[in-house]
């Protein structure tokens, strides 16, 4: 059996779903952030698989896209962790279900 595009796509889908479940279910805000990182990585893996196996036109643009995704993910983590610190400082907790200041 040849390892082809489908193997990488299924692997990316599995990884995305694990990250999705972590992001949806964890109580800790940093845990949610870890789930979001896993989802972004799964998408990157899928894009690189298309870059390797897709047509010649998408081979370069997908890799450039992956570089942009990594840059945005780094910015997101920096701001997200700073937000978690500020929320902890003001509310003494970073549980996502106990920070209900904006709840009507």
């Amino acid at each position: 059996m040849i390892i082809g595009l489908e193997h990488y796509l299924v692997l990316g889908a599995l990884l995305f779903c694990i990250g999705f479940f972590i992001a949806l279910s964890k109580k800790n805000a940093v845990g949610v952030l870890i789930g979001v990182e896993l989802m972004l990585n799964a998408v990157n893996l899928t894009l690189v698989a298309f870059s390797r196996f897709g047509t010649a036109e998408v081979a370069l643009s997908t890799q450039v896209f992956v570089v942009f995704i990594i840059a945005v993910a780094a910015a997101e983590v920096a701001v997200g962790l700073a937000l978690a610190l500020v929320v902890y400082r003001n509310r003494q907790t970073i549980s996502v279900d106990r920070t209900t200041l904006l709840k009507g």
């Binding site: 390892i3 990585n41 003494q92």
Partner: protein, 203 residues
């Protein structure tokens, strides 16, 4: 392409990635969760190598394994130990699991059922040069926007995370009170300490 070494590399890296990601779900300590995340990211970097995307693999190791995980560990260590519990789930975790399983079935069905066309045999060569050239020629506007975004994120993170002096004093007092309530040994009170214990060593 279909030789034994490639198969071994793919399946072991896939097991490493999925295993690390699964351990994040079940690990009870947030620091352990970040360590499992590092394992998963390293597996993905290896998978990039099997896809002959060397530049992306190196960037993955530098940014995710090197920078983001260390940033996460710093943020976790700046919050008290009570906030390092990763075992709790929100009340709607069950419905969330159902939604995730439905998404998994849909994405896998699309991935397997779709005809993705002919497979290209030759991989992209000289990727670093090609990516660099297209970044400053074809994608110059997104490149500049990305630079502005990173600067804004840097300034924003510093502006959010720095605290005023009176806030810092209150925060330090509450931290000290929590440490005292913990029952951990305060080195000042012990006349003849057998070992220098701090808050970390008592767990």
């Amino acid at each position: 392409m279909s030789d034994f070494g490639f198969h071994l590399a793919f399946w072991s890296l896939a097991a490493m990635t999925i295993g690390g990601a699964s351990m994040i779900v079940v690990s009870r300590n947030l620091i352990h969760a970040v360590i499992w995340l590092v394992l998963s990211m390293l597996g993905i970097a290896g998978l990039y190598l099997t896809l002959s995307a060397e530049f992306i693999a190196v960037v993955q190791v530098l940014i995710y394994v090197g920078a983001i995980s260390v940033l996460m560990l710093f943020a976790i260590m700046l919050t008290p130990r009570a906030e390092r519990d990763n075992s709790q789930h929100i009340k709607t975790a069950g419905p969330a699991g159902v939604v995730v399983i439905m998404v998994m079935i849909a994405t896998m069905w699309v991935a397997i059922d779709t005809d993705w066309g002919a497979v290209r045999e030759a991989a992209l060569t000289e990727q670093a040069r090609l990516i660099g050239e297209s970044l400053i020629k074809h994608y110059i506007l997104p490149f500049e926007i990305g630079a502005v975004l990173l600067t804004a994120a840097l300034v924003g993170a510093i502006a959010l995370a720095r605290q005023d002096d009176e806030d810092a004093a209150v925060h330090a007092a509450s931290l000290q009170a929590e440490l005292d309530d913990d029952g951990s040994v305060d080195p000042v009170d012990v006349v003849d300490p057998p070992l220098p214990t701090d808050g970390e060593a008592s767990t």
